[in-house]
């Protein structure tokens, strides 16, 4: 007989049948965990977000370069969405000049710097939705320390208070769970937690 260890069960519901309703009500602070998705998979997610509505998105990238994003969007267009990029990937490599839809910045070294990066860049882009890709650099939910959780919750609270309003109504934090499944689900201050799974392997048979 196993011991009655105290564990918490995280319940995830597959939402294929309620995807439209879920995306319609996707507001506030959203944590989007995924299994190392590519930018093209994120485009698929963004297509569902505020479907057929003209919105502006600020995409703060610590993962994908502006160059890669542009190429991907040529193959997988994102109609009705205007994208502004903060490229924190290419800044170190070459001497890039900011463009109308992209600025190059050094990668933030902690969540406090990330918050400032967000605040600085919502001024010029005035987005409806902010995406941070990703927060995996700053916290590992497989085994977070109390200090990490303290910093993370402080970040969530302040970023929510300082950025969201009636027109700017969603901030999406991406988290790559390749380091292991999330043993701690940060339910405090997050309005929705979603998981996006991309299965690349083609099944032998389809419905």
């Amino acid at each position: 007989m196993e011991e009655l260890n105290i564990v918490q069960i995280n319940y995830w519901k597959e939402i294929r049948k309620e995807i439209s309703i879920t995306f319609e009500s996707l507001h506030g602070l959203i944590l989007l965990t995924h299994n190392s998705i590519e930018f093209s998979d994120l485009v698929d997610f963004l297509k569902n977000l505020r479907k057929n509505k003209e919105i502006t998105i600020l995409y703060i990238s610590l993962i994908n370069s502006y160059d890669h994003i542009k190429k991907t969007l040529q193959m997988f267009p994102l109609p009705s969405k205007k994208l502004f990029i903060v490229d924190c990937v290419s800044g170190f490599l070459l001497d890039h000049h900011d463009t109308a839809d992209c600025v190059y910045r050094s990668p933030p070294s902690n969540l406090e710097e990330m918050k400032h990066l967000i605040l600085d860049n919502i001024r010029w882009s005035n987005p409806n939705v902010i995406i941070v890709d990703s927060i995996s650099q700053f916290i590992n939910f497989t085994m977070p320390t109390e200090e990490e959780l303290h910093d993370f919750y402080t970040f969530l609270r302040s970023v929510k208070e300082d950025t969201l309003n009636i027109t700017r109504d969603a901030i999406i934090l991406l988290y790559d769970d390749k380091m292991g499944s999330m043993k701690t689900l940060p339910t405090l201050f997050t309005d929705t937690i979603m998981k996006l799974e991309v299965i690349k392997e083609k099944p032998e048979w389809k419905d």
């Binding site: 069960i9 519901k13 597959e14 959780l149 405090l188 998981k195 996006l196 083609k202 032998e204």
Partner: protein, 224 residues
């Protein structure tokens, strides 16, 4: 424009409304879990239709009745009377011990036999809920063949047509997903797919008052 390859699945954490969702559950449910112990699954079972008394038929292919009975003594089920069909101890010819809540059966060799066992169990016990533990003994969604999937969809079709009734309206198909990534998740014949993941209870950091803008006792408290 290019077509994307592969399948994208979306899941939503339902920690805020799990009790409400579970209370009103019906239809055919596929419940994926990572080799959870029976005592851990009891927490989940307790949430199902928790607002009224129910009879449950539990068809076990993985745990013996003896084991589950001991587990339930330690951690009882609320508002549920469970009838077991033990397909684990069947070969050991256990003594019936005059217990009228358990039937022994040989493990089913395929989904067709599984269906017969379920039908027999429903006739005997007239349950509100049927739990199958687990489907992973009979199908592997990591690399199912077309034939396996055909058989599985026929099984779901027959459950819905022949077994679901006004009384017996909830079928829970447990599936141990530890065998690997599920290349195929059934999209037809299943009303709800849930994934259960075990985690540590979330703790607030030691200093909590700053989070709420008020002076609270410094403590490490559980959120759930």
């Amino acid at each position: 424009m290019m077509e994307k390859e592969g399948e994208i699945r979306y899941w939503r954490a339902i920690h805020n409304d799990v009790d409400e969702e579970m209370k009103n559950l019906d239809g055919i449910l596929l419940v994926l879990h990572d080799s959870m112990e029976f005592t851990q699954l009891i927490d989940f079972f307790n949430k199902i239709k928790s607002n009224h008394f129910t009879n449950v038929l539990y068809v076990s292919l993985t745990r013996s009745h003896d084991y589950m009975r001991h587990a339930l003594e330690q951690k009882p089920l609320d508002q549920k009377r469970v009838f077991f069909i033990d397909c684990v101890s069947g070969f050991a010819f256990p003594v019936e011990e005059n217990i009228d809540r358990v039937l022994y059966h040989k493990p089913p060799r395929d989904l067709h036999t599984m269906k017969e066992i379920i039908h027999y169990g429903i006739e005997k016990t007239n349950p509100d809920i049927v739990i199958i533990d687990s489907l992973s003994q009979l199908i592997n969604f990591s690399k199912p063949t077309g034939e396996e999937l055909d058989e599985f969809y026929n099984f779901l079709h027959d459950l819905r047509k022949q077994e679901i009734s006004m009384v017996c309206n909830t079928f829970i198909l447990l599936f141990d997903a530890k065998m690997g990534a599920l290349a195929h998740l059934p999209s037809q014949g299943i009303d709800t797919i849930l994934k259960l993941e075990m985690s540590k209870p979330t703790k607030l950091p030691l200093e909590t008052s700053f989070l709420f803008g008020e002076k609270k006792a410094l403590s490490s408290e559980l959120l759930h």
